[in-house]
Subunit: 199 residues, 2 copies
Amino acid sequence: MSKAPNPARRRESSRRAILAATAELCSQFGYGRLTIEAIAARAGVSKKTIYRWWPSKGAVALDLLDETATVAAAPPDTGDLAADLHSMLTEIIGMLTPPHNAPGPGVIAEALHDPDLARELRERLVRPRIATFRQRLRRAQDAGQLHPDADLDVALDLLYGPLYHRLALHLGMPDPAYLHSLIAHVLRALTPPTSSAPH
Amino acid sequence: MSKAPNPARRRESSRRAILAATAELCSQFGYGRLTIEAIAARAGVSKKTIYRWWPSKGAVALDLLDETATVAAAPPDTGDLAADLHSMLTEIIGMLTPPHNAPGPGVIAEALHDPDLARELRERLVRPRIATFRQRLRRAQDAGQLHPDADLDVALDLLYGPLYHRLALHLGMPDPAYLHSLIAHVLRALTPPTSSAPH
């Protein structure tokens, strides 16, 4: 109590404490048992402080996700399309694993009922990733590695869809071997039959 | 009050009233605002009656889904694989549309946090559909329409995954033209490159 705290710094330190408490509670007890009360208690702030900045626990968890998962400005491009897709998908698998105590599936579940949270999720987390994904596929298409008629919207669904399907139905996230097979199948769908297959 | 009601018939009539009330409330206000209180009030039963048979609103909604969406004992087989896949996927799209007021996405959201509900969802609704789906694809594979090495688990993910992906990220359910393109891409992934494409 020796000095009056700087309000901006104090705000930032509360924000950090709230996000850290949310991460710890998620990993210990799972998103389903997360409450604003528990976050406030662990972070040493009042519930009012949390509600001043976030409308719901889903919004707190979304900020946590947004901080922990940075989006690359440009997609990976090692020259090996399959390997680059493998690393992009592995990042998303990390955000969705393990399902019961990660904030990712919690936010997705809340967003199914909460249109405002769904919009934030889409604009802040999903669109930037879709953009880098399309950029990588477009480059491959321009280089003749993909069929000129391949539908890149369908390609997005084919590559990312299985993760959400397996998440929703608790079928387990793909392991590396399964991911390899998935990518090989999708590239076969997108590759001109007469050309040689990419690496 | 002229006759004492038959207990079994009364139970069945309460059960029907509860499921009907759940369907009406979902379609009017959305699953997110559904409560056991509201179901009880609309069905004219006590909350205790509901909790005697179901542990949660998710479990009521799961029973509603299970009643309204019957699974065919065998997959459609018109001889046209693409058309048969189109009709199987269209059924699932119906269960997931529109997202905000259908019980399907509500149950999926709850199941992300509730392992017991997830198990019920998987065993009662998902597995029987996966089984007919695999049966149809296996038949096509045996007939040489699909590559002998095509991975049918991957095929399941490729065909159903996009629906869950689009649901989770609020990207909109596929329309018939998009579904047609999706199926064409997936069949290209599964079809031997030397054979002629299926219908």
